[in-house]
Symmetry: C2
Subunit: 519 residues, 2 copies
């Protein structure tokens, strides 16, 4: 568990340096406490009894206050100043540099936001979430609008205090995807919008349809759970450093990665993919955190490089692999073993096509791979306009509906199916783009994998996707948050993030799924 000095080139910290050791010691404590905070949140979503919410809130607030004290400790600031001034003379490892970067970032953020602002954010976020619930229940955007306005005002203040070079939105985005700006996102997203619209049009023009009824049926929860555990074993998710629990919404969390990385899922007895695809998605996140080098444990580097990179791992496993014919060639026996009466009469190809039905819909979380990113682009454009100052909160539903009509060709009948469907804006802005970034990174990684393994499909079909995990581990996972996302993608794939790979992926995959005439 001790983080030891390493040879040049290996992953690890230069513990022979006294200041770095002191920094590590300080950060270890923060990470230990943050892990316990994450445990409290995991428990809240899984096993905590309903009536314990208020007392848990007090516990979390107390712990959060202590973490904040550690994060803003002037001794931490002094250590960072000293180390940064030495960084040019001394030989620091990549991990040392990554650690300094991450520690500086969290120290600056914690010290730049005054306590009153942080408390106000907590209060408004909580009240705004309640207002969103209420507005959704009553299908009345006006009940949510004043809270959304306060959130806009507060998030602008946060951005101003944290600082940015181009636009305010960049400061918020940078929280989730360090190094990225709104203008870079625009460049990345423009071709995504184009290919999504094109592919949707081609599919609709083809009038080809897919029968997905084989995904419906009667699937007992205990059997589904067994199947999920089997799929996790196939993926080499390590149960001695993890676990699978139930929650209302599936998620992955770590309490000291790579040693304790847990997943949750949910079950729908009528619809099998609800659990299985969620488990493959969450396992993508989980494998990432389980694959972080143990040398990084108890430091801020023992996490994903960014939310976008994290999402690339979940999407790669859920979509590129988990919705592929090749993967299920190797695993269809598990479906038939657990649900023989149901799947013995369903050809494999019927099943994998059913997993890939394309259908424009109003609800993001139900969207397919072709239309999903259009949902995200709409949110990105709107929240950017809210934060950077061009869009009034009152115009949001109208703008939302107009964009759905324009991008997806359908329009919500009401705001529950529209602007009120996501809870995210009750908490702030800058998070949504990471979903589509994840898809772009995943496509680029997938393309590199297929380059490195020309027999990719055959290997997958043989039943053991271990070669994929092994590649991901060596090229991405082990580094944790050592590198910024762009650098990590460049190191792993030989190229900076490039949306062309996503366009290739989408075109090739759905031309085949929908048997499209070549464009």
């Amino acid at each position: 568990m001790a983080t030891e000095s390493t040879l040049p080139g290996e992953i690890g910290f230069t513990t022979s340096d006294a200041s770095l050791s002191a920094l590590l010691e300080h950060l270890h404590a923060i990470e230990d406490l943050s892990a316990l905070m994450a445990l409290a949140e995991w428990d809240q979503q899984t096993y905590m009894p309903r009536g314990a919410g208020e007392v848990r809130m007090y516990q979390a607030t107390t712990l959060q206050g202590i973490i904040h004290e550690h994060l803003t400790d002037p001794r931490l600031g002094a250590l960072l100043d000293k180390l940064e001034s030495e960084a040019t003379q001394k030989h620091f490892s990549d991990a040392d540099r990554g650690l300094l970067r991450k520690a500086r970032r969290s120290y600056d953020h914690a010290t730049r936001l005054p306590r009153e602002l942080v408390e106000e954010l907590t209060r408004v976020t909580s009240a705004s979430f309640e207002a969103w619930l209420n507005a959704r229940a009553k299908n009345d955007f006006a009940l949510f609008a004043p809270w959304l306005q306060r959130t806009v005002t507060l998030q602008r203040e946060v951005a101003d205090r944290i600082g940015y070079t181009e636009t305010r939105y960049d400061a918020l985005l940078d929280e989730y995807e360090p190094g990225l700006t709104a203008s870079k996102v625009e460049q990345l997203f423009a071709p995504v919008r184009a290919i999504s619209t094109t592919m949707l049009q081609r599919i609709q023009d083809s009038h080809h349809t897919i029968d997905a009824s084989c995904l419906q049926g009667s699937f007992a929860t205990d059997k589904q759970q067994r199947l999920c555990e089997q799929v996790l074993r196939v993926m080499d998710y390590d149960i001695t450093h993890g676990g699978l629990a139930r929650s209302e919404h599936p998620f992955t969390t770590s309490f000291g990665a790579p040693f304790d990385v847990r997943l949750t899922t949910r079950y729908n007895e009528q619809y099998l993919p609800m659990s299985v695809m969620a488990v493959m998605h969450e396992a993508g996140h989980g494998l990432y955190e389980q694959g972080i080098s143990p040398a990084l444990v108890r430091t801020p580097l023992a996490s994903g490089a960014s939310l976008g990179i994290h999402e690339s791992q979940s999407r790669l496993w859920e979509n590129a692999i988990g919705r592929s014919y090749a993967f299920w060639q190797g695993q269809y026996g598990l479906l038939r073993e657990n649900f023989p009466a149901h799947f013995n009469n369903v050809p494999l190809e019927t099943y994998t096509r059913a997993l890939n039905v394309v259908q424009p819909s109003l609800i993001r979380v139900e969207a397919d791979e072709v239309t999903y990113n259009l949902h995200i682009i709409i949110r990105f454009e709107l929240e950017k306009a809210l934060v950077n100052g061009n869009l009034a909160v009152e115009s949001l539903p109208e703008q939302w509906n107009a964009r759905y009509q324009e991008y997806l060709g359908i329009k919500p009948d009401n705001d529950v199916e529209g602007v009120l469907q996501d809870m995210h804006w009750s908490a702030g802005f800058g998070y949504f783009p990471t979903y589509t970034l994840g898809n772009l990174y995943a496509a680029q990684i997938y393309r590199k994998l297929r380059r490195d393994f020309p027999d990719f499909d055959e290997r997958l079909a043989s039943g053991d996707p271990g070669f994929v995990l092994n590649w991901l581990h060596n090229n991405l996972h082990q580094y944790g948050a050592t590198y910024l996302p762009e650098e990590l993608i460049t190191r792993a794939t030989g190229e900076a993030p490039n949306p062309a790979y996503f366009a290739d992926y989408l075109t090739k995959k759905f031309e085949q799924i929908y048997d499209l005439p070549k464009a």
Copy 2:
């Protein structure tokens, strides 16, 4: 959740007093953090993956250090000094006084034990536990003896630093049963030894035997779990403020009583009482903590008055109620509903007699109600002799075996069945007597209940034991740790702890179970 001032006579704190409010605020933080520590421990015993032990140890150590800082904060000491000097002039509620007592106690203990001693205790306890595991595996007491010797030395130092009036052992005992001394325990235990020996002799002389084979069979775990949940509902255990999980050893823990109080149990598919009786035992603990007044939440009074009082609640529900004919008259339908093939042919009386077989055994945790306390008395006598200086560690196995021969008429063949059977001495001394104190308190409470409810058995047999819980709540549970155990027992039963009630209970119960000729 705010602890508000109350009318005289009600349970609550005088929050109008600024110093008391400051004390409460300080203690709230400590309780919040202690609750998260308890959550981390619960998780470790239930859902934590095997490979996370080391990283969890770091997390717990960090949090423990922060709790220790709060406990030894000189501002806390100054507040306590001020409040104690005012206590005679001001009108303080019982809860105020209880709070001062508990806070003073933990402050003194934390400040009187130097950090090096606490760390040494942690190290030796951990190493001693490993040595015990190893010694037990190899049936070699000599491997454990040096660690036991170090524990004796350290525990003596702890006692000397904490302070005591009669003997060192008192200081250790007082940790678990405040206000009690070894000499008082001796007075309480002497009649217990006498009645236990007498009843055992009478049963053996009668040559009556009980057939307990109906407890063996094939009991599927999911059915057992359902039965346990049904029994919990019968007992009015509140699942909206609790939960039942699996662990290797059953236990109860709270993270902010009375709002989050959780139980665990274990299952043996061949032996039904393993789960059911453990659940009734743990629910006894759980009902106690769920019954604490919400006005005491987030303070050290939101816990049991002592381990002995806590154990009285678990033993009352497990033994006096859970092994009674009357209780199962009301609930036997649940057994038959879940295991019809098994229990439809077992008469109720056969089942409840089987739950009460008396058989001297070498292993404490398998002991019946008649012989159980003899195991405890042996341990009490031996650990008292170790701490107060008369007994050498090397002589322990010999002394152990001699006492088993004398008290129970049987003798271990080896130390695994003897002195190495319990892990407790790897952690220290003073804990064991609380088990028997629990039995004594339980008998006294049980007798008072039967006095207050002359139709006790009929009520129980009708299927709803709510009247018992209601009485316990009003007379014991709601006060939490406001009163010392002796005062609490006196308030609830009208009399100081008196072992005669246990003697009455044992005599009456086992004369009937074993159909004994009157003595």
